[in-house]
Structures are given as C-alpha cells and as structure tokens.
C-alpha cells in the first residue's frame, strides 16, 4: 500500500528496496566494483606480457586472468552496467512509475550479485576458472580440469544468466505495457528501442547457454558425455551451443551503448536523431541477423564450404545496418551545435572507435582471411575496439550524462575530461599495436612468448597503454567518490534534454512523475520547450498533486532471501562432502521465500 513515510535510505532500505532507481544504483555500483576487478586482471596479464619469457605470474594464474577478465567484463560489467541504465531509464523514459514487476526486479539484481560472487569464489580456494571465457569442451571435462574451477565458472554463469533472463522479461513487459499515454512504439526514445531489442535477444539467447551449462555440469558430475568424444559426444556441439548464445551476446553488449549514444549525440548537438525510424529498423535487423552469424567464430573447425559461405555472407550483411547507424550518427551531429563535455566526448568517441572495430570486423567476416586472424591478437584488437572503445566508452558517456539525474550532482568535468583522454590515448596505444601483433602471428591466450618471435616491442607498447588506461580508471573512481559528496548541484534539466527524464527533478522522487505524463511527439520535452523555429516556449506551470495518493510497491526482503537460497543451491551442487546439505538448505530457503513472497502484501 502507499508507503510514504520518509524513504528508507539506510542499509536495510537498500537491501529491501524494490524501487527501480535504487536497484539501478545497486547494479551500477556492483558492476563498477567488478570493473575494478576485471581491470586488475587485465593489468596482471599486460604486466606478464611486457617482456618475453616473463615470470611475473605462473601459466596457471595467467590462464585464470584470461578467463576471469573476459567473463567478468562481459557478464559482470557491461551487462549489469547496461542493466543499471535499463533500470533507471526505461520506466522514466516511457513515463512509468516503476517497472512491471518491481520485486522481480530486486530479485534479478540480487541473483546477479550473488552469482557474481559465486563466479569469483574460486579465488578463495585458489581454484580460479582457467579454461577461457568460452569454456571450450573438452578442456572443461573433469579429465583435463579435475579441480572445481570449471564448476565455479559454469554455476556462476548459470546463476548470473538467470538474473538476466528474469530481468529481460521484466523490461520487455514494462516497455510493452507501461508506456504513458501517447507514447506509441515509434515515439519511444532510441535508448528504449535498443533496450527492447536487447531484451528480446536476451530471452532468446540465454536459454541456449543455460542448456549448454547444464550439459557441461552433467558431463562433469554425472558422466553424461555430451561433449566427450570418447563416449560418443561431440566437442563441436559445445561450440555451436556456446556461440548461438555468444554471438547475440555481442549485440546484447553493444545495443544498449548504441542507444545511449543515440541519446547523447542529439542532446549535445541540439538536433533530433537523424533517421529515427531507420535507426529503429536497423536495431531490429542487427538483432535478427545476430542470430544467423554464430558460426563465424568457428570458421577453422572444418564447417564445410557451404556453411562457411552462408556464415561469411550473413556476417558481411550485418555490417550494413551497423554502417547505416554510423552514418546516421554523423548526420545527427552534422549541422548541429556540438557542445563538448565529458559525456559528449565519450559518446563521440564511441562512434569513432566502434567504426574502427567494425571495419576490422569486415576483414575477418571473410572466412579465408579469418583463418589467418582467428585466435591471434588481431581478433583481440578487433573486439576490444568494439566492446571497449564501443560499449564501454558509450556506457561511460551514459554515466557522465545521467549522473546528475541519478544523484542530483554533476561528476567533476575537469577530472572527467582528463579521464576521457587517458582512456582514449591508453586504449589506442594498447589495442592498435595488437593489430600488428596479430598480423605477425602472435596467438591469443599465451601466458608468454619466446624472445625469438620479434613480438617484444609492441607488447611493451601495449602494456604501457594499458597502464595509462588504469590511471584513467582510478581517476574515475576518485571522481565518483568526490562528486557524490561534493559535486556541483544539478538542476532538473542540466543539458537541455529532449526526453522525459529531464522533466522531473534531479534526483527524481520515488514515484518519478507526480502526474502521469502525456506525450504527443518524439522528443516530447524538446517540443514543449521549443517551437518549430527554435524559439523558446514558456513551460506551462506544473499542476499540483498529492504525493500521498500515489501507490508504490512495498519494500520486500524476500527477493534477497530467494536469491541467496538459489545461489546456495547452485554452490552446494559442487561443494565436496557437505554439498548436498548446502543445496538442500538453499532449496528450503527458495521454497520459504517463494511462499512468503506470494502472500506478501505488495
């Protein structure tokens, strides 16, 4: 029932919250923590490779870093940071007061959070996953990896995947059912559109990895042999399952950032997004084609000429809608009044870096070229340009752009710009030379390399670049701590924005909108502020309302209990000795929590 005694901001308030904005902050903070962790893992790798035959870390540690850096950055950084934006922005941008299922939303976060811990729990007993983020069978078989490292990875991912699956259905329903009056699908902000496509990709792709992870777990613990050639299984089966999930996953990572950039560029060039409808269709096309290109990760497995031809053609085709987006972004800023600040710099750098990564992607869309590039540093360079220069830079743009809305304070501009340039320079110095290393045949995931290969120079350069980025990252964390307490106060509409979130106070009240908005146009807020000739209009006086009359869901501790039970159940599956009891305890908690949840007054 309506519950408007002062919002509970203590620890208990955060644990039991079902407010989408608070959950967004939880997602953001946890993903930034994992970003730090993944960054440390990257630095360890780059330090090991600074000279040939280095012994900074052992082969085992290095392989663990390779695995955990990839897994962490994808599943525990880019996905949940995107989720933070989904959570905060989708309801507000479509004029709703919360997501469709607020407690389910809290459940998603807590499952993700505990799953992330489970994924990293191997560190505590020195059995860190080391089979690569792609976990190719049959290296994951018990015969070749007898310790629990693969189990931490498989079960951790299973739990984290469940969180994304639940969240994707929640956001899909929210977008479909909770748009305010007048907000037709083609009047939704571009970010909501790319989010919608992302949710569809998530709930179509995640079940595949879920099944694959169940199979690998059964192989390891019940000897099923799905991926064991000695028992009639197939190692290629894993690769198909993994990449049927894994390639849509790439678009799951990049689409939210594309949406963010499609919000930032119009605001800071004071022009609408160029070709909105074409941008919508191209996002859908990317999502659709994203399911038809998975085997381009497998060009060297011996697919046969016809499959190879099909996947070459499909992969090239996906470059078309992506290219359209890039030209449309350039047309968006063309003729505008481009304001440069940290947010817009990150947004613009997304376009540049993503284009570059896209072009090297066209190179190995051709299967013959790919047989030379596959598993070399050329591919490492390519996907870091797309996922780091692209997704991460875009997400950082989003952080600087919406931070004032979320907290009511600006992130420090000066520190932000220094961080941006440290990132841009460090990033390019790290990853551009990796193209050279790839052309010179340096394979990926090698814990060291011989001195007679001639790879020393560019490895040294890449490592120095990585250190530069690390300084930028530390500066960002300082900026965050500084600005939360001492940042300049932000008004409701600091950037002269175009979408609904800028119509409400910074930070927004718990109920978002006192009076539910009615939308007439795309970029409705802009049209409220300016007429067609660009003359400023005076905003109508805000109607008054009684906050106490607004129904909001009650806080609940059942989501965190259920998530903890679920994670215990998963962990008990592979804990030696008393694991069964841990699992049973977990199942009991899940059952009790579900019961409590079902009968709780929402």
């Amino acid at each position: 029932m309506s519950n408007h005694s002062a919002p509970n901001t203590g620890l208990w308030g955060w644990i039991t919250t079902v407010d989408h904005k608070k959950i967004a902050i939880l997602y953001a903070l946890s993903s930034l923590f994992f970003f730090f962790l993944g960054g440390v893992e990257a630095m360890i790798m780059r330090t090991q490779l600074i000279i040939p035959n280095n012994d900074f870390v052992t082969a085992r540690t290095f392989n663990s870093m390779v695995t955990m850096h990839g897994t962490t950055m994808i599943f525990l950084v880019v996905m949940p940071l995107s989720s933070a934006f989904f959570n905060f922005l989708i309801p507000i941008m479509i004029g709703a007061r919360d997501v469709a299922f607020p407690r389910l939303n809290a459940l998603s976060f807590w499952i993700f959070f505990f799953g992330g811990i489970l994924l990293n729990a191997g560190y505590f007993i020195n059995e860190v996953p080391r089979q690569g983020w792609f976990g190719y069978a049959n290296l994951t078989d018990r015969q070749y990896t007898p310790d629990l490292s693969v189990d931490f990875w498989a079960m951790g991912l299973q739990v984290v995947g469940l969180a994304s699956l639940i969240a994707s259905i929640n956001f899909f329903v929210t977008i479909m059912n909770m748009r305010c009056k007048g907000m037709t699908l083609l009047k939704m902000p571009m970010f909501v559109w790319t989010s919608l496509v992302t949710q569809v990709l998530l709930f179509l792709a995640l079940p595949v990895i879920t099944v694959a992870l169940v199979m690998i777990t059964f192989d390891r613990h019940f000897g099923t042999g799905f991926f064991n050639p000695g028992a009639g299984g197939s190692v290629i089966l894993w690769q198909h399952l993994f990449w049927v999930f894994g390639h849509p996953e790439v678009y799951i990572l990049i689409l939210p950032a594309m949406g963010i950039v499609s919000e930032i560029l119009p605001t800071f060039s004071k022009k609408p997004l160029f070709g909105y409808s074409v941008m919508v269709y191209s996002s859908c096309a990317i999502g659709f084609l994203g399911f038809a290109v998975w085997a381009h990760h497998m060009f060297t497995t011996g697919l046969g000429p016809w499959a190879t031809t099909f996947f070459t053609a499909a992969t090239m085709l996906i470059a078309v809608p992506t290219g359209v987006k890039i030209f449309n972004w350039i047309s968006t800023v063309w003729g505008g009044r481009i304001h440069f600040n940290t947010a817009s710099l990150f947004g613009l750098s997304f376009v540049a870096m993503f284009t570059f990564g896209g072009l090297s992607g066209i190179m190995h869309s051709s299967a013959p070229i790919d047989t030379q590039h596959q598993d070399t540093y050329f591919v490492v360079a390519h996907f870091h340009y797309v996922l780091y220069g692209g997704a991460v830079m875009g997400l950082f743009g989003g952080v600087f752009y919406w931070f004032p809305k979320v907290t009511g304070r600006f992130l420090h501009e000066g520190m932000g710009k220094v961080q941006f340039w440290l990132f841009m320079i460090g990033f390019n110095v790290t990853f551009f030379p990796m193209h050279f290393l790839g052309v010179q045949g340096m394979p990926r995931r090698n814990y060291t390399y011989a001195a007679d290969q001639g790879w020393d120079l560019w490895n040294l350069v890449a490592t120095l670049g990585a250190y530069t980025t690390a300084i930028g990252g530390l500066l960002f964390f300082y900026n965050l701590f500084y600005s939360i307490k001492r940042g300049a106060l932000a008004p409701a509409d600091p950037w002269d924005g175009r979408t609904l979130e800028w119509t409400i106070p910074s930070p927004p009240p718990e109920y978002n909108f006192g009076i539910e908005p009615v939308v007439k146009n795309l970029d409705d807020f802009w049209h409220q502020k300016y007429d067609e000739q660009g003359q400023r209009l005076s905003l109508p006086a805000k109607a008054s309302y009684d906050p106490h009359s607004i129904h909001l869901p009650n806080p609940s501790y059942w989501p965190i209990c259920l998530a903890a039970g679920l994670t215990l159940g998963a962990a008990g599956f592979f804990i030696k000795g008393f694991g069964l009891y841990v699992s049973l305890l977990g199942v009991a908690i899940v059952l009790i929590s579900s019961y409590g949840w079902a009968y709780e007054e929402a």
């Binding site: 190719y136 022009k271 046969g304 359209v324 045949g441």
Partner: protein, 355 residues
C-alpha cells in the same frame, strides 16, 4: 593553421610508415610473408578488403572530423539548429553502397572457400598430425615414420595433413603457409597445401607453427617447425629417419643404459631399441631437432640440462619451463647432473641422423 596541418601530415606519415613496418617486418610467424598459393590467395582478398575498409574509413572519418570542427559550439553561440529528422534518399544511398562494396569482398572469398572445400585427389602424400598436451606428433603412414615437433616435407609437393587430437582441441597453424585448422578429438580435419620451393637446399627452410586454441596450462609452449627440403634430400631423410641410434662413446652408452633403466622408456620410443613408450614424443630423431619441448628451449647443452633438471625437480603442474607437462617423476626419483650429461650425449649424438 598551416603549421597544424603540417604537424598532422608528419604525424600521419610517421604512423603509417610505423604501421607498415610493423606489419611487413619479416618475422617468423608473419602472415604478410606467405609462401604458398593458398597464403597468396588469402592475402589477395585481404588486400582488396583492406582497400575497401580504408575507403570506408575515410568516407566516415572525413565528414565526422569535419562536422566536429565545423559545427562545434563557439563561445556565446545560442542558435538552435534546424531540426532535420532524416533524409531517406541519403539513407538508402548509404545502405546500398556498403552492399555493393561487400560483394567485392564476398566473391573472391567465395572462390577460395569453394576451392579449399574440394576433396584432395586420391594418392596425395599424406601426413597424420596429432595434437597432444603440449606437443606435436607427426606420422607418415606411407613411409613408416613417426616423429615429433618437426614436420619434414618435400618441396613443391601437394600434401594432405590429417589433423587429429589425442586429448583436447588444438589448432594447426603455420602462418606463412596460410590459414589455420582446428584439431578436434573424435574428428579428423583435412588440410591441404602445395609445399613451397626451397631457398636453402642444404639446411632446408624452417617455418614456424604454433597451437592456436587454448589447450591448457602450456598452450603458449606448443610450437613446432615445418622443414621443407629438396625432394632428394627429403627422400634421404625418410630413408634414415627410423634408423636405430649409433652409440659411439662410453658416455653415450651410459646414457643409453640410463634411458632404458630409468623411467624414460616407459613414455618415449626410440626405433630399434627396447624403448617403445607411446605417451611422450617419439625420440628416434631427437638428435636432429633444433628445439626441445616443442619449441620451448634450444636443443643444446644448456637447454637439455634445464629441461631435465626442471622436470625432475619441480612438482607436477608447477614446472618452470613447461607448466603442466606430463614429463613427471616420482618424488624420490634421482637424476644427477652426471646422468643428465650422459643422457644428453646419447640423445643429442647417438640419435642424430646424417642425411
């Protein structure tokens, strides 16, 4: 302004020449210095693709940079730009142009894919390549030869490699010969080459290969060399390859005894002796190998000593030279430096074949 443009030009020239040098330096695993027909075909498509992608890059970068400069906000600028919402003609144009450009990459790619997909003619000279954690086994079924970590082939000959794995997935790749192919347990993948002509007819030409699929701890230590010989030299090699060792000195004899009494023989085979182990690399040709432990150490006194000392003294999985190597010994196993010297004499000299 002029000076800025000049700085930019110099920087561009510097970066381009740096990149050019970096990509075209003749390093052991350079994909730019290919020697086979397949390699050249790939690089031909690669060149077309590079030109096209560079054109697209310019087509994106120039208007983008121009727009950022031209339409930047100047101090005191308060104009509201015209709210352009799109232009269908332009959007159709930049949908169609990439499609046309991609066809120019697709067609030559298709040609290579189909050519590579063709069945090799029957009777092609066949070599079985078997990946192990972390070494390479090469078997010549027609010649009855088994060897490890060095692939001998005759020049200008069509060869068929049957790629297999004894444990996990590995990948076969000699960058200067063309693309790579996975070696999957339970599956035999085929890879065909026409071997290149020889430049150095005496020593033969050495080409470096490397495993390119993460295959466990010592994936980085899984190298090999392909050695191309003139046909008559290859035939001589084939004739002598499986000859039994010639034990000349007393030290070599001691080495042989150690080999046959210590645990070596349980894992390694040497043709013509009682050593018939199948777990580790076949050592019949050991004396001819340039490298040791699949490209990890030089096969000289220092390398040999390091390899054995480290393998005997380290705990399994925690070796310094090759972590995870299956060459492990019981805790109480003793191998003195003198023993190593004798083993070295036997393995490096007695097993070396003259051909």
């Amino acid at each position: 302004m002029v000076s800025l443009v000049r700085v930019f030009k110099v920087a561009l020239f510097f970066i381009l020449s740096l990149g050019f040098t970096a990509c075209f330096e003749k390093l052991p695993m350079s994909t730019a210095h290919v020697v086979t027909e397949w390699g050249h075909e790939i690089n031909h498509v690669y060149l077309i693709t590079t030109v096209i992608t560079c054109l697209i890059f310019v087509a994106v970068a120039v208007p983008f940079c121009y727009a950022l400069w031209k339409f930047r906000e100047k101090p005191g600028d308060t104009r509201i730009p015209v709210q352009v919402r799109g232009n269908h003609k332009l959007e159709i144009l930049w949908t169609l142009i990439p499609v046309v450009l991609l066809i120019f990459i697709f067609l030559p790619s298709l040609e290579i894919i189909m050519k590579r997909g063709a069945e090799p003619p029957a009777g092609t000279f066949t070599i079985e390549v078997i990946g192990h954690q972390w070494w390479w086994e090469f078997r010549y079924p027609d010649l009855g030869i088994v060897t490890a970590n060095e692939l001998y082939v005759p020049e200008k000959t069509p060869i068929l490699l049957k790629l297999k794995s004894a444990d996990v997935i590995h990948a076969f790749w000699i960058p200067r010969w063309g693309g790579k192919m996975d070696m999957l347990p339970g599956v035999t993948n085929l890879l065909t080459y026409t071997t290149p002509a020889v430049e150095d007819p005496i020593r033969g030409d050495y080409y470096q290969g490397h495993c390119t699929e993460l295959c466990g701890l010592s994936h980085a230590r899984m190298r090999y060399e392909a050695i191309v010989l003139p046909k008559e030299r290859f035939d001589q090699w084939a004739k002598t390859a499986m000859n039994p060792p010639l034990v000349a000195s007393a030290l070599e004899k001691k080495g042989q005894e150690l080999f046959m009494t210590k645990t070596c023989f349980t894992c390694h085979a040497i043709a013509g002796t009682t050593a018939k182990g199948q777990i580790g690399p076949d050592l019949t040709n050991f004396g001819n190998r340039r490298m040791l432990a699949s490209g990890t150490l030089h096969n000289d006194t220092k390398g040999f000593h390091n390899w054995l000392r480290d393998s005997v003294d380290s705990k399994p999985d925690y070796q310094n030279v090759k972590p995870g190597s299956l060459m492990v010994f019981a805790e109480n196993f003793v191998l003195t430096d003198e023993d190593i010297k004798a083993l070295q004499a036997y393995l490096q000299h007695s097993t070396a074949k003259t051909f």
